[in-house]
């Protein structure tokens, strides 16, 4: 029931360049993961399945600005002039 996964497309969405070997490798691995999903889909359940758990109560936070005690400058090695430095992004 599962369609064959388009690894090239997934790689593009993830902005990854895959070698042909990697493509083949990931295709197999993804198919395995989808196989588990097929297995779950085979389970027969009674009644409706909900994706939400209403037993958990949302705890709201009052709108108050509180400065964090942890800052990137205390732990990140990737800062330059307090900015995170990343590979160039040119659209």
């Amino acid at each position: 029931m599962t369609d064959k996964i388009d690894v090239k497309k997934v790689a593009r969405l993830a902005r990854l360049n895959l070698t042909p070997e990697e493509e083949k490798d990931y295709t197999e691995k993804f198919q395995q993961v989808l196989g588990y999903v097929d297995q779950i889909a085979e389970v027969v359940i009674e009644g409706e399945l909900s994706t939400k758990d209403e037993s958990l109560q949302q705890l709201y936070r009052p709108d108050q600005a509180i400065d964090s005690s942890v800052h990137p400058k205390d732990f990140s090695p990737y800062l330059e002039n307090q900015f995170f430095k990343v590979p160039p992004i040119i659209e």
Partner: protein
């Protein structure tokens, strides 16, 4: 073939909360890069989001104002995509259960009212900011101060057909969020921004054409101009036998053109799924009722009240209420006893022109309501003419001086003394005997010339009505 545009707008409003959507970091603008960050908005492992109560309240308020159904058990979802301004590699948004659905607002274009459907309003968090001009040309720089700032995304139905309607819709949303006080509405700073989905189809066709999404529309004018440009571009492509590609386009306001940014990802590419870190957003119906009762007067209600209470035209009333600060200013002038219709004219014409020319907001304006009321009183009691009042108004706008003081200092008081004016009129007749003869010989169009001479001789200070009467009496029939 004739084509018809189909337009839908997605408006993002940055909420004016003190703290972020899911953590207590400040949302204030202008801090050092990454100063307002914490493990939650940095997306560090193990950090858990915690919903800002006020952001939910604000969403309910906008939903009620735009006639939406409030969903009492909405849900947060993860929208997955990879970009360095998004530290978690997903944005917490809402997908199949947004907080508000199925609303509408009315817009007015060319004196006609049109209803535009609101598909949904959902809560989400903003991304960070990317800077490309750093020390290293082969790097980009990320500031996550904005990451996690609460946003409301307002999605319209594809009910809009012209750029004019799109602009009117955007202006309406702007007035709603500012009236509600949930967003400061500053479009230049990106606090209210708009993406336009545009497609065209042959007139009479039911099916929609392929749409493009134009981003980066940060003014009402940009919204209108980009839509017109996109309609023209798509028409050209189709007339040339081409096909429209579904893509995101970036509007360049200076060049007045757009360019392709990227081929658009489909909704399924975002792999939305319910955010396991956040339980369902349960809202007590009582909270919704309370919010409904405490909604402030909204632009449409204020417009209707203005037309009734002050006998204004719907157009004047709509112009006045578009900006809440202007509407308040107007009512403050009226409260000081000024005539409603005359005040509306001064505010919508002279004041609007000067504010626009000087790029000022009404709050920065030096003519405060008592000053304008005083000026109108000077016209009403005949101290100055309407024409001189414009000079006084401009002076007051620049200097902030009291109108009465300007009139005294510059000697602008209107000449309404009958004897003095009559003397001047007689002098003019004496000096222009040829014209008098011509007038009396039947050239009645010369009448304006004589009154003009009176105004000239008095530097515009003669009471125009009195000057007219006197001249008519002195010249006799034409």
């Amino acid at each position: 073939m004739k084509y018809e545009p189909v337009i839908g707008l997605e408006v993002h409003a940055q909420l004016s909360t003190a703290s972020k959507m899911f953590c207590s970091c400040s949302t204030s603008f202008g801090a050092a890069p990454n100063q307002h960050t914490c493990p939650v908005c940095l997306g560090l492992p193990g950090a858990l989001p915690n919903v800002n109560e006020k952001a939910v309240q604000y969403a309910i308020m906008l939903g009620l104002a735009t006639n939406c159904e409030i969903i009492l058990d909405s849900q947060f979802a993860r929208k997955n995509y990879f970009y360095p301004d998004l530290p978690k590699a997903y944005q917490i948004s809402q997908f199949d259960r947004p907080i508000c659905e199925k609303g509408w607002i009315d817009i007015e274009v060319k004196g006609k009212t049109k209803r535009i459907g609101i598909t949904r309003i959902h809560m989400e968090e903003d991304a960070g900011k990317l800077v490309h001009e750093g020390e290293d040309p082969n790097a980009s720089y990320v500031d996550l101060n904005r990451a996690g700032t609460p946003l409301l995304e307002i999605v319209s139905e594809p009910d809009i057909r012209t750029s004019e309607e799109a602009k009117a819709y955007m202006e309406k949303i702007h007035s709603f969020v500012t009236y509600l006080g949930i967003c400061n509405g500053d479009m230049e700073k990106g606090n209210l921004r708009c993406d336009a989905n545009v497609s065209i189809r042959p007139v009479g066709e039911e099916k929609f054409g392929t749409r493009t999404e134009s981003k980066n529309l940060n003014s009402f004018r940009n919204v209108a101009q980009s839509i017109d440009a996109e309609i023209a571009r798509q028409t050209d492509v189709l007339l040339d036998g081409g096909k429209i590609v579904q893509e995101t386009r970036l509007w360049d306001a200076n060049q007045r053109t757009s360019r392709s940014l990227r081929v658009k990802e489909d909704s399924q590419d975002y792999r939305y799924f319910p955010c396991p870190d956040l339980p369902v957003v349960l809202i007590d119906p009582e909270q919704v009722n309370k919010a409904r009762e405490t909604l402030p007067e909204l632009p449409d209600q204020k417009r209707d009240r203005f037309t009734q209470q002050y006998a204004l035209s719907p157009y004047d009333a709509a112009v006045l209420v578009a900006d809440q600060a202007i509407a308040t200013y107007y009512e403050e002038v009226i409260a000081l006893g000024a005539d409603a219709k005359k005040t509306a004219n001064w505010v919508t014409v002279e004041l609007a022109r000067l504010l626009n020319e000087n790029k000022q907001t009404i709050r920065e304006c030096k003519i405060r309501p008592p000053n304008l009321a005083a000026l109108l009183a000077l016209i009403a009691d005949g101290t100055i003419s309407g024409k001189i009042a414009k000079t006084v108004f401009e002076e007051a706008f620049t200097t902030g001086k009291e109108p009465g003081q300007i009139v005294e200092e510059k000697g602008l008081r209107q000449e309404s003394d009958q004897g003095a004016l009559e003397k001047i009129c007689l002098e003019i007749l004496q000096e222009n005997q040829a014209q008098v003869a011509a007038y009396q010989g039947g050239k009645d169009k010369l009448f304006g010339f004589f009154v003009g001479q009176v105004m000239k001789k008095t530097s515009g200070k003669a009471n125009p009505k009195l000057a007219n009467e006197l001249m008519k009496k002195l010249l006799g029939p034409a």
